[in-house]
Amino acid sequence: MVFILNKKVLICDDAMFMRMLMRTILSDLGITEIIEAENGKEAVDLYYENNPDMVFMDIAMPVFDGIEALKRIIDYDRDAKVVMCSAIGQQSVVYKAIESGAKDFIVKPFKKDDVLNALKSWA
């Protein structure tokens, strides 16, 4: 049984369903500080305010999308650990994200272990 403790995680997805899912997985893994953003802009603002240990960022979001938010976060913090959450069929967007500084990516529908591995590596 693995717990990741004392880490702050930012989750960004416009679907409430996804955020809820993520939140539950993260809590199960022991994360107690979970911050949620519904769109790209909110993601960036919350990053500035909270300086989380890592970010799970959905690729498609309103206001500005995951890539844009990623870029701005990296601008602000070169070492930001942003892991993109993408769906199948978004290969080219993932490429873009990697080029823009994403540290890693996980693919939906993801399992607890995907999230766990990402946390272990990056949080």
Partner: protein, 686 residues
């Protein structure tokens, strides 16, 4: 995953998305170039796909994936929106809606009919502009190729500049879904530490995912082995890395190191199975721990702005507030009758209590309020569909969607509104040709306007169509033997219009399956009156009609006037009372058998309730009375009562269904003195 936890929110969010998508499609019909709408639609289908995938509804996942693709093609300008396009998307949205409904009822998805969407996708593919084909054919511009130098030397040739050549053998997880992206990520990181000179298989093959779970990378670098390892070992979905420095003889140890590091970071497949079993039995206790953890942090860090509350709890709260008000009224009554000095101080407390209960009441009401948009959201799409079906060209506008109503009222008001809209489309708005013939705009207009007026919400459905032919109704009234011609002529236009709301009355020449046999309007009236409201209609021949629905904002607690009629007490809801006047006997005049009064120039008929209330005729007819002025549509009447005793908040209590009563009684309440008082529905008798 435990689907039950998420099913409600999945259903709710999916329904929200479907509504939004309908709206987006409607606006794209008007303006197919609207990029924002296209992008949002794409994102919504994308989310639907993701959510349904997580819930393991693979049918829905695949179906929405197709729609996502279709939108993607539009989005990347590979194709444009055609009429066909929106039609197919609408039809698909209906299927998805059906699916969600089925999930809600049975927990299972439905099987989808892909024909239309597949055809659409084919058409979009074929209609693709050609400028993208180049990208597809020539993959030497692919990102992986971009970070691989294309120099193909003999292996020793790489070692020239004092740089080391590392050969990395990388295995990724068998379940890896985006293999080439995964490879790209790995290669990008390696690229920061040197130069990738070769890949096995070829970069093109890696980009096209023509490899199983293993590939080899040759890296030219000045860095040390562990530095290079460090640059990629954290990447997820890597199951093994073997790194050799070309020309150096220490395979064994380096491999061991790598595996040690990897074991720390990754759970391999076999290990996964074991730990999973272990996990599931422990998961319950960890869940309770983490739920506690969740609750704590929710308070501080969560940015959730809403709270989800069980509806039954809300109802319970509502009932308690009602009881509180009744008790408060009882207490108040008690204080009014107590006369000593101590009581004076308590009166202040009483007033304070009154203010507080008022505030609590209002707060609870606010929680129960919902905007009418909950109902009106679906209407634009419905109007569009029916208009198409009936070949009418109609513009539909909604105003005041934010107007709020008690949730029980909102639940019930949908059907009546839909019925009135159908009527407006079917019977109200004329065909394009007819409109042009009459020098009208060829597009008909229907408005739905909602606004708040004191304790009521007013909803109007206005059309600029034909208007209702009052004379035709007049004739029908005679024909159907309701009354004689003389009586019919005597009826005012408003009174004639009210016949529309009587059961089995229809002037439609044929029974259309849209608006039925005209049994609709009487059902509409009944439904609205059950909610404590009323419906009236105004019309102008050739210009259009306006249906006006008036609803109390809340069902359970109303402002009421306690009145005395023949020594009995009754409650009249304030929301229908325009004003009250004291009148004397000589102010009344009998005109053609009806009692009337001239009030400052207005001739108002007087209604006496003794007949309705089965009362003995009055002994003292010359008593002074109070006249309650009530307006209904354009008509004004005065209802006479003996006296107004007080104005108070009235909690409407349910009465046993066993006891039948006349329609003039709409409910009952308990007064401050514990007695039951009946609530009168005066609208019906006007």
């Amino acid at each position: 995953m435990e689907k039950d936890k998420y099913i409600d929110i999945f259903i709710e969010e999916s329904e929200e998305y479907i509504e939004k998508l309908n709206d987006l499609m409607l606006s794209l019909e008007e303006d197919p170039e609207n990029e924002e709408a296209i992008n949002e639609a794409f994102r919504l289908f994308h989310s639907l796909k993701g959510n349904s995938g997580s819930m393991e509804f693979t049918g829905m996942q695949n179906f929405t994936h197709k729609l996502e693709n279709a939108l993607d093609m539009i989005r990347s300008k590979k194709a444009g929106i055609s009429d066909d396009f929106t039609e197919v998307v609408f039809e698909s949205l209906d299927q998805i809606e059906e699916c969600i409904e089925n999930i809600r009822n049975t927990g299972n998805e439905i099987s989808f009919d892909d024909d239309e969407i597949d055809k659409l996708l084919d058409n979009l593919e074929n209609g693709k502009q050609n400028d993208n084909d180049e990208n597809n054919k020539d993959s030497s511009n692919g990102p992986i190729s971009n970070i691989t130098s294309s120099v193909d030397k003999d292996i020793d040739g790489y070692l020239s500049d004092g740089k080391k050549l590392f050969i990395l053998d990388i295995w990724i997880s068998k379940n890896c879904l985006l293999k080439s992206a995964r490879a790209f990520l790995i290669m990008k990181n390696l690229d920061k530490n040197g130069e990738i000179v070769k890949t096995i298989p070829e970069t093109k093959d890696i980009e096209d995912e023509r490899f199983n779970d293993n590939f080899e990378i040759w890296l030219l670098s000045e860095k040390e082995k562990d530095q290079i390892l460090a640059s990629i070992e954290k990447i997820t979905e890597i199951t093994d890395i073997k790194i050799e420095e070309y020309g150096v003889e220490n395979h064994g140890s380096s491999n061991d190191n790598v595996n040690d590091i990897l074991d720390d970071n990754n759970l391999e497949d076999e290990k996964e199975k074991d730990t999973k079993k272990h996990n599931s039995s422990e998961s319950k206790s960890s869940q309770s721990k983490s739920i506690l953890a969740l609750k704590e942090e929710d308070k501080v860090f969560s940015i959730n702005k809403t709270v989800r509350v069980d509806l039954s709890r809300l109802d319970k709260l509502m009932n308690l507030v009602s009881e509180l008000i009744i008790t408060k009224n009882g207490l108040k009554e008690f204080f009014i009758n107590v006369n000593d000095d101590n009581a004076k101080g308590s009166i202040e407390q009483m007033e304070y209590l009154e203010r507080i209960t008022q505030n609590i009441h209002e707060s609870v009401m606010e929680i129960r309020m919902m905007p009418i948009s909950v109902v009106t959201q679906k209407l634009p799409r419905m109007v569009r569909d029916i208009s198409k079906q009936l070949n009418k060209n109609i513009d539909f506008f909604i105003e005041g969607e934010k107007t709020e109503l008690d949730r029980t009222v909102v639940d019930e008001i949908g059907d009546p509104i839909i019925h009135l809209l159908r009527n407006a489309i079917d019977h109200g708005i004329e065909s394009e040709d007819e409109r042009i013939k009459n020098h009208k705009e060829k597009k008909g207009t229907i408005y739905l306007k909602a606004n708040r007026e004191d304790d009521n919400v007013i909803i109007k459905i206005i059309d600029d169509g034909n208007g209702i032919d009052i004379n035709q109704i007049r004739k029908k009234i005679i024909k159907d033997d309701y009354i004689t011609k003389e009586q019919a002529d005597f009826l005012s236009d408003d009174e004639v219009l009210e016949y529309l709301f009587k059961p089995s009355f229809s002037t439609a020449k044929e029974v259309s399956n849209i608006s039925g046999r005209g049994v609709g309007l009487d059902a509409v009236k009944t439904r609205i009156e059950t909610l404590g409201g009323s419906v009236t209609v105004k019309t102008t021949k050739g210009k259009g009609s306006e249906f006006r629905i008036q609803l109390p904002i809340t069902l359970a607690i109303i402002q009421g006037l306690l009145v005395k009629i023949n020594d009995e007490k009754y409650i009249v809801p304030m929301n229908i009372i325009h004003s009250a006047e004291e009148i004397t006997y000589d102010m009344k005049e009998s005109v053609q058998g009806r009692m009337m009064i001239n009030l400052r120039g207005n001739i108002i008929p007087i209604i006496n309730l003794s007949g309705y209330l089965e009362m003995e005729p009055e002994k003292n007819k010359e008593k002074n009375k109070v006249l309650l002025i009530i307006k209904k549509g354009d008509r004004t009447v005065g209802v006479e009562v003996d006296d107004i005793l007080s104005q108070q908040e009235v909690v409407i209590k349910s009465m046993s269904k066993k006891i039948e009563h006349s329609s003039i009684i709409s409910g009952a309440t308990i007064l401050g003195n514990g007695e039951v008082a009946l609530i009168l529905d005066l609208y019906n008798i006007i």
